[in-house]
Symmetry: C2
Subunit: 190 residues, 2 copies
């Protein structure tokens, strides 16, 4: 699970671009970071409390006491330092549990067709997201020299594109190998 709580850095990173409410933080994560990160309200609100106690953010409300209070959080200088010190540390390796590989590894006891169907699902779910990533790419590409943020966003988009294409290519190879095996089986039975 990776010892350290990374949620604090996601929040600090977003707040570093400007003050936000908890709700807005969630929206930004869902819209912008969804290809490589996610989190839930049940994590965001408690973490904001932790951040405030540590004085990495400050809290303010333009309608305190009223119903539907809107609490805006702002990063502090200490918070910015905390963010920077994390940014320059080596990253944890992505450790990923691929359920589909686990199923394939043990998959010889079910029908070949069932395994192929699983891979087809996998392939399609990534393939359909590639055009969106390419759209982002075409929007960010011309801006990359003007603003370092755009360049950094572009790098994450290129990552997504590269990996999703690799998923699709592997799926095609795997389906071909399984189909070939299935054909050989049929011949043997005949």
């Amino acid at each position: 699970m990776g010892r350290e709580n990374k949620t604090i850095y996601v929040i600090l990173g977003l707040l570093n671009q400007g003050p936000l409410t908890g709700y807005e933080i969630k929206k930004r994560i869902d819209n912008e970071l969804k290809y490589f990160w996610d989190t839930s309200f049940g994590q965001i609100y408690p973490t904001l409390g932790v951040l405030e106690e540590a004085q990495w953010v400050t809290k303010s409300s333009d309608n305190k006491g009223q119903k539907l209070e809107r609490i805006t959080y702002t990063i502090t200088e200490e918070g910015r330092e905390k963010l920077k010190s994390w940014l320059i540390m080596p990253s944890d390796m992505p450790f990923i549990k691929y359920e589909i590989l686990l199923k394939l590894y043990f998959g010889s006891i079910i029908e070949v067709q069932e395994n192929i169907a699983n891979i087809v699902d996998f392939k399609e779910s990534f393939e359909e997201q590639i055009p969106t990533l390419e759209l982002f790419e075409s929007e960010l590409e011309p801006l990359k020299d003007q603003n370092p943020d755009h360049l950094h966003y572009l790098l994450t988009v290129l990552f997504g594109k590269k990996i999703y294409k690799a998923y699709v290519e592997w799926s095609e190879e795997a389906i071909a190998l399984l189909s070939e095996y299935q054909q050989n089986q049929k011949k043997t039975v005949k």
Copy 2:
């Protein structure tokens, strides 16, 4: 975190190939599944208890009562059915939290060189594993038509190779873009 406990299926999948002790299960996971799965003793032993209670495995000991008891677990017919029913279900999508992308996304506030160093680390750690995967591939390739298990193992190896190569390619692109940006910056300063 993905609702259902997948550890039970990893264990059932391994036991389906033959009886094992908890310790041996851990070793097999570390040796064979490490590219796409891992787990700890603190998860394996309690899960074996759950599996036994559900009668998906049976427990036996050739040296009961002695010190250093060796407890061997064997899958039952119900266990095998449970495994099969999971194998044919659609897989959860791999949801992956890439700390390195998070850092890049927020990376414009630190030195370009720091971000490049992070990517270089990332690249190297995967690059060095590719030869091992290619060795596995060359061992499994000639066996794939003889035994369906070997074909299935090969598919998981091909996955690893494809994704690791994609990581390396992206790293090179990203480093090039960041270096280019850095050069332009220097010119502007002059």
